[in-house]
Amino acid sequence: MGKTIAEKIFKAHLADEPFGDVSVLKLDRVFCHEITTPTAILDLVSRGKDRVFDPDKIKVVIDHVSPAKDSKTALQGKILREWANRHGVKDFFDIGHNGVCHAIFPEKGFVHPGFTIIMGDSHTCTHGAFGAFAAGVGTTDLEVGILKGVCTFKPPQTYKIEIIGTLPKGVFAKDIILKVIKEITVNGATNMVIEFRGSIVDEMTMDQRMTLSNMAVEAGATSGICLPDMTTVEYLWEFIKDDYSSRQAALDTFSRFRSDDDAVYAKHKTIDVSDLEPLTTFGYKPDNVKPVSQMKGIRLDQVYIGSCTNGRLEDLRIAAKVLDGHTINDHVRGIVSPATPKIFSQAMEEGILKIFMDSGFCVTNPTCGACLGMSNGVLADGEVAAATTNRNFNGRMGKGGMVHLMSPATAVASAIKGEIFNSSLYCEQGR
């Protein structure tokens, strides 16, 4: 009987199966940020266990509130900084070099096919785009990951979701994942791994796959995995070229983790995107999804482009193409946060930031801030935002605020119009 990619990764990392109930996996990476790690560090210190399993496998960033906005967030940064220093964690990304965790860690080449990765952050599933098993965990799991390099998971059940057809113009990876979540609901994949398959996924760039995998957790999934292929190898090549004789040799190695043709899936769904329209959310759950055409006219106070879902270079390129030559509506506050310094710098070189600034957007440093209402763009009670982020929960971007999730193209089109609006009008003008 064949195996899925998740089953193969589990098998290769299995350390124990206590009582036959759970799988204890050895970890290749433990990622840390300043919101969930300091409590883990303080607890380890108080237990007299202030140790790390392997400083080279621990990667650390300050990203959620950066620069620090008050004494409390400054203290979180300080605890993390001092801890990384005393344990010799070399890959520590502080202000000036920091970016949104799920954008900067792949960009640094830290995520390889077949890896096991945890982080105290639910969107860790993003890294599944590389054919890794990557999962968000709580602080206690993170703490044990740091201390012992292991984590427990239930043996994986896989939900195979095939994306097929021809993607219409103006429809993007974000629209596809919103469609998936709408179809299977917010707990449709709970305790399961989603395996994204099909011709559309095969043709996707890594940026697009990361958008797809990023929101797997919004359907309850433990991880959202795309199979490694030549696109994965090309992305990673600069980091792995000394380890393999050729790209094909790297692909051959990574392909050992690809799901077998006769692998067994717990669930299976095929989605044809040929007729898919741009989508957005309404209400307070990510499965409350409607076509943008049915949501037109909803007045916006803020438009936010950024986050681990859609703050990458391709997202900014698409947004700038729609935005070029336009100014955003007077009553809209536009905020764009390129997800990493590299993306920021490239967007600057390509003239993308100038397009944003000329249109009236505020360009901020890379940070998670606004997405979860912590800093850099918090909503007031009764305000409405269009955002390229991943959660529309009640109060997510600020108490009493409403968030509509959408693609970068739809978000900037909406910023120009001042209300939720389809990007096609601006695209058709040849801009």
Partner: protein
């Protein structure tokens, strides 16, 4: 091992997320006790008033997919510092459920029918709920009736509850 009994708090809604349990703006706190006044303050549920309805409650009974969304362990901590050591629901989000057991707290799954029966028979009354993890029985008591319900947790989860959580267990065995 913690105490798993006390007054029930009935939250008759599915998909209650961790942003509702403890909003992100309190994640800058590094002391668990600081979460105490903010538990469920953004919960969307008709007739629920966080300022008055949480006091003295120790066991939450709720619907599907409790604890979905963010991985924040602040959610179980906010429950714990308010004296709530047990949540009973038809299903939980994976990370939330694991966080509960990792902290030595109980997340018990019962069938949807059972949960609906508890809501129907006890949801409007003042109830005392006692969980015995040795016998795997939940006792629900109101003024008028007592009901005993069996539940299942895995041996691994039981071991976590008994050894005081995952940190001690892992450091001992791995």
């Amino acid at each position: 091992m913690k105490e798993f009994k006390g007054k029930g708090l009935f939250l008759d809604r599915s998909d209650i997320n961790t942003d509702e349990i403890i909003p992100a703006k309190y994640l800058t706190e590094i002391e668990k006790a600081a979460m105490k006044p903010h538990l469920l303050e953004d919960l969307k549920l008709d007739g629920f008033h966080p300022k008055t309805d949480i006091k003295d409650r120790a066991v939450i009974v709720t619907q599907d997919n409790f604890g979905c969304g963010s991985s924040r362990e602040h959610a179980p901590w906010a429950l714990e510092v308010n004296g709530i050591n047990v949540v009973i629901a038809p299903s939980f989000a994976r990370i939330f459920r694991q966080n509960m057991f990792n902290c030595g707290l109980l997340a018990i799954e019962l069938s949807k029918d059972r949960i609906n029966t508890i809501f129907k028979e006890f949801g409007k009354s003042n109830v005392q709920i006692t969980v015995d993890i040795e016998t795997s029985v939940i006792m629900v008591q109101s003024k008028n009736q007592t009901k005993k319900i069996e539940f299942q947790i895995s041996e691994f989860d039981r071991a976590l509850i008994k050894t005081g959580g995952w940190v001690e267990y892992a450091d001992k065995y791995y």
